[in-house]
């Protein structure tokens, strides 16, 4: 009598099953990693924009309170507490047409460099608009300082009477 020996059902997973599981896990892990990466980058961008806004607010309010707005110089006033360098106009945000530039400055806060241009315009008799435009080096991606989109810059305007 001839008996055929049936092969035992093998325990464990087949090669295809293992490969499928690895592929699914890889997609899940890479997906998680991607969303974390984008969340981190977005928080970083938000942090820079918030700090840029604070720098703009600092300059704007200090300029507004200065005894003589024509001679205000952030480098001499706040230079001992913050790293503030005086730059040439093309190294920072551009001055809009019709406005008078007061100066361009490089301000370093927590290791990040911000560049600010201060400019003003007499909008009515006895009323002057003081503006500060701030950009930041990080995420500039070789774009010109003067042509940065609103997402990578901050502009603030305040008004003073000149009478």
């Amino acid at each position: 009598m001839k008996t055929t020996k049936r092969s035992k059902p093998s325990a464990g997973f087949t090669f295809t099953e293992v490969m499928g599981a690895i592929a699914v896990l890889t997609v899940a892990v890479l997906g998680t990693s991607a969303y974390r990466y984008h969340a981190t980058v977005d928080v970083r961008k938000a942090d820079l924009k918030t700090s840029g806004a604070r720098v703009g607010c600092l300059l704007c309010e200090t300029w507004r309170g200065a005894p003589d707005p024509n001679t205000f110089n952030p480098a001499s006033h706040l230079g001992t507490e913050l790293t503030i360098l005086t730059l040439t106009s093309y190294e920072g945000p551009g001055t809009p047409t019709g406005h008078n530039e007061l100066g361009t400055y490089g301000i370093t806060v927590d290791g990040e460099e911000y560049r600010a241009t201060l400019f003003w315009k007499d909008v009515a008799p006895g009323l002057r608009a003081l503006s500060v435009a701030v950009v930041w080096e990080w995420d500039r991606q070789n774009q010109s300082f003067s042509n940065l989109p609103p997402s990578k810059s901050f502009r603030l305007t305040t008004y003073v009477t000149t009478d």
Binding site: S33, R54, V55, L58, E61, G65, P67, H77, E81, L82
Partner: protein, 173 residues
């Protein structure tokens, strides 16, 4: 002769194939692993930065400084020579005709960490009314003044995170 044929047809991988496969998969796994570790580290840094005490302290300090200075009178501001404290004056009541209150920002070395405090008081006679803690984790704090405005450069640190807070406000009353 028959045995040789059987051996040649044996299925499987050669040692060279296995070594190459192991090398390639190791490179891929190490690459992905480094990516994941870096991503995780950045995530943790961002998370601790966002939710640390430094973050809320900086928010509170800036808001408090802004509201007090903006409410202050333009009649005067007193500043320490070394910028360690600043004192502004304000009206206790909207109908008051004289400036009768003062608010002084100063730092205090506490048991756990340095604090930024604000003291409110009456001007005449000089009397302290309240003293409140604005924030902890103060590493340094310098006040400045330019005309009708006051500035604060506050550095907060909890040992792992450091943040520089800059604030400026114009006195309005």
């Amino acid at each position: 002769m028959n045995m040789k044929k059987k051996n040649a047809k044996r299925k499987g991988f050669t040692i060279v194939e296995l070594m190459i496969a192991t090398g390639l998969s190791s490179a891929v796994i190490i690459g992905i692993g480094m990516l994941l570790v870096d991503s995780h580290r950045s995530w943790n840094r961002m998370y601790s930065r966002t939710y640390s005490g430094i973050s809320s302290d900086s928010h509170v300090a800036r808001r408090r400084f802004d509201s007090v200075v903006r409410n202050a009178s333009t009649q005067g501001i007193l500043l320490a020579d070394d910028g360690s404290w600043v004192e502004v004056y304000y009206y206790s009541d909207p109908n008051a005709t004289v400036v009768d209150r003062y608010a002084r920002f100063f730092t205090y070395s506490g048991l756990d960490s340095n604090q930024l405090l604000i003291e409110h008081g009456a001007v005449q006679p000089r009397q302290t009314l309240t003293t409140e803690t604005v924030c902890d984790n103060v590493a340094s704090c310098v006040f400045k003044s330019a005309g009708n405005s006051a500035q604060m450069v506050l550095i907060l640190s909890d040992g792992s995170e450091t943040a520089t807070i800059v604030a400026s406000a114009v006195m309005h009353n």
